[in-house]
Subunit: 333 residues, 2 copies
C-alpha cells in the first residue's frame, strides 16, 4: 500500500488538521467528536443542514460546509459511519431555531446512527427532518445497504437544499425539495481499479488487468457485472441506459448531468466521458441545462466514474445556481 498518509489509524485526524489549517477562517474543526462546522453557525432563523458519513469520499461532505450548502459535516473513520453523538452534536451546533435537516446516504450504519441522532435532537427540542438519498440504480440491496445506495445525487441535494435554506425557506419546504431532488435523480458508477482502505492495506476487491466493474458502489461493493474494458462510449452507454430507463427520463426533460470521478481518475478522462454522456442525452431528446464534472464523491484512489442525471424543475435550477462558498464548490450567481 502506497499512500500519502502518516499512519493508517491517524488518516482522518491528520486530514482534519489539514482542513483546519487550510480553511480555519471559514469553518470550525473539532476533533472529539469529529465535526466540521460553518464558522458562523448557528445562523439565526435559517434551517441548518448537516450531513456525514464515512471518510474517503472527499470533498464530500466536509468540503461542502459553508454558505449555500452544509452547516456541518460529521466525518467517520474511512468507510465507517460517524457515531450518533457526532451527529447530535452537529445538530445542536447548527440549530438556528428553524430546525435541522439531516442528509443521509442510504447505508445501514448511517441510517441507524442518524435516526438515533434525530431522536436525540428532538429530545432537546430541535425539529429534525431527514432526507434519505438512494439514487444508485445499480443494485437493489448491497453489502451495506437495504434498498438502493445513496451516491452522486447527495451532492446535488446538499447544494440545492443549501441554496433554499440560505433563502430562508422553511424546514418542511427544504425537506420536501431535497426529497424531490432525490426522487428525480438517478446514478450509476463503474471502476477500473479497486481502492485500498488504510486500515486493511488490501484492495477492496480484485479486478483483472483488462476488466472493469459496472455498477460499483462507493466503498468498492460489488456492482452488476464485470466485463472487458471497452471504449468510453461503451462505459457511458452501460451507465446511462439503466439511469435513463429507471426514472424514466423522457424526451424534452431538462436535466443536470454530473460526471463524477472516483478519486484516482484524471479530469481529461471525465471530459471524454462527458462528451459521450452529452451525445447519449441528445439522442434521447434530453436538454442538459446544467453540468458538473469533477471528483466530488470519491472512493479513495479508486479509478472510475459515476454518472448522475437529475430531472430539473425551476426551483431546483434556481437553487443550484444560487451562490455557494465552500472549499469544494464555490460560485456566485
Amino acid at each position: 500500500m502506497k499512500k500519502l498518509i502518516n499512519t493508517p489509524d491517524g488518516v482522518v485526524q491528520d486530514e482534519l488538521h489539514g482542513f483546519q489549517a487550510a480553511h480555519g477562517d471559514r469553518v470550525r474543526v473539532s476533533f472529539d467528536p469529529a465535526m466540521i462546522v460553518r464558522i458562523d453557525a448557528p445562523v439565526k432563523g435559517k434551517v441548518g443542514i448537516i450531513s456525514g458519513g464515512g471518510s474517503g469520499h472527499e470533498p464530500m461532505h466536509g468540503g461542502f460546509v459553508g454558505p449555500g450548502m452544509l452547516d456541518a459535516a460529521c466525518p467517520g473513520e474511512v468507510f465507517t459511519s460517524p457515531t450518533p453523538d457526532q451527529m447530535a452534536e452537529a445538530t445542536k451546533a447548527v440549530d438556528g431555531g428553524a430546525g435541522v435537516i439531516h442528509v443521509v446516504k442510504n447505508y445501514t450504519g448511517d441510517v441507524m446512527n442518524f435516526d438515533m441522532a434525530a431522536e436525540l435532537g428532538k429530545g432537546e427540542g430541535i425539529e429534525v427532518e431527514t432526507i434519505l438519498t438512494n439514487d444508485d440504480v445499480a443494485v437493489e440491496d448491497s453489502l451495506y445497504t437495504a434498498g438502493r445506495r445513496g451516491v452522486g445525487v447527495t451532492v446535488l441535494v446538499e447544494k440545492i437544499c443549501g441554496g433554499a435554506a440560505e433563502d430562508r425557506r422553511s424546514l418542511q419546504q427544504v425537506a420536501e425539495l431535497g426529497r424531490r431532488v432525490n426522487a428525480n435523480g438517478r446514478s450509476m458508477g463503474m471502476a477500473l481499479t479497486p481502492c485500498i482502505t488504510p486500515a486493511s492495506g488490501n484492495p477492496s476487491f480484485e479486478l483483472a488487468d483488462d476488466e472493469v466493474e459496472i455498477g460499483i458502489g462507493i466503498h468498492g461493493e460489488p456492482g452488476r457485472f464485470r466485463e472487458k474494458v471497452g471504449p468510453a462510449s461503451q462505459v457511458a452507454e452501460r451507465l446511462m441506459t439503466p439511469i435513463l430507463e429507471d426514472l424514466p427520463f423522457s424526451s424534452g426533460d431538462r436535466v443536470l448531468a454530473f460526471v463524477n470521478g472516483m478519486g484516482g481518475t484524471p479530469l481529461i478522462e471525465l471530459y471524454v466521458v462527458y462528451a459521450e454522456v452529452a451525445k447519449i442525452a441528445q439522442q434521447h431528446g434530453l436538454r442538459i441545462e446544467r453540468n458538473l464534472i469533477g471528483s466530488y464523491i470519491t472512493s479513495l484512489e479508486m479509478q472510475g466514474c459515476s454518472i448522475t442525471l437529475l430531472k430539473l424543475d425551476e426551483e431546483m435550477t434556481r437553487y443550484w445556481d444560487a451562490p455557494v462558498n465552500t472549499p469544494g464548490l464555490r460560485w456566485k450567481a
Copy 2:
C-alpha cells in the same frame, strides 16, 4: 492500460468535445488548430493572456480559460507541445489591442514553438511578451528541459496575471508581475506511481511497490532520487526543504502554499500533506496567507503530489483574490 478513453489517438479531440459540450456557453472550442478561447475574446483594451502545452495536465490550461485568468489555451497532444500555428492563432484571437502575454512552461518544445508564435504575432503587429516559468527546484536540466522545469507556479502566474489584465494593467506591468511571481515561487513534486500515456500504453517509468520518486517531473521525467515510501511527514519534508532553501524563504515571509495532486491522488491525502506543510511552514516562521489544495497541474493518473510556495507581496495577493470565473478555478472576491 485501463483508461476512460475511446482510442489512444482520439483522446484530446474527445476531451475537447466534452469541454465544448460542458462549457460552450463560456468558451469557443476549435479543433483545427485546437484552441479553447474565452467566448468574448478579444476583450477590447485588455491585455490578452494565452498559455498552452501538452495535454494530460488538466485542468491546466484549458480549464483556466475565462474572466480573470486566461483568454485562450492551446492543448497539444498528450505530453506534446502544441504547434506554433496553434499559438499564433490564439494570439490573434485574444488580441484586444493592448498586447498579448504568452505564459510558457520551460520545456524545450514549448519554448521553441512559443518563440516562433511570438515572432508570427509580432509580424502581424501584435505586441507579445513571454513569461517563462521555471520553478521546479528538483533538477537543473532534465529529459525535456534546459534549465529548470516550469510546474506549479504556472497556475499562480496565470491567476495573478489574469487578475491584473482584467484590471487593465499594461502589457509591461502584467509581464513584470508574472515574472515576479515566477521569481518568487518554488516547487517540487513526487510520485507514488508512474502514469501511462495513451499512445505508449506503458508506464512512463518503473517504480517498486514500496518506492517513491522524489523530484519527479510532470511527464514522469526522473527526479532526484528514489526511496522507500515513508510517512506523509517525511514526504513533505523532502519537498519543503529544497523549496525553502532555494529562494530562500525567510522567517516572516507571507506565502501562498499550493498542495497539488498529480491526477490519481485523492483529496484526503492532499489534506494530510497540507497539514504537514503547514507545520513545517510554521516551524520556519512563514505565514501562510493563502492556500490552494487540489489537482490543478496533473500528470494523467499519476499518484503523488507537488508543493509550491510563493512569497507574496501586496499586488500578488490582491490579484490572487480578484474574481475568477473558469471551469477550473472560480470565485468572487
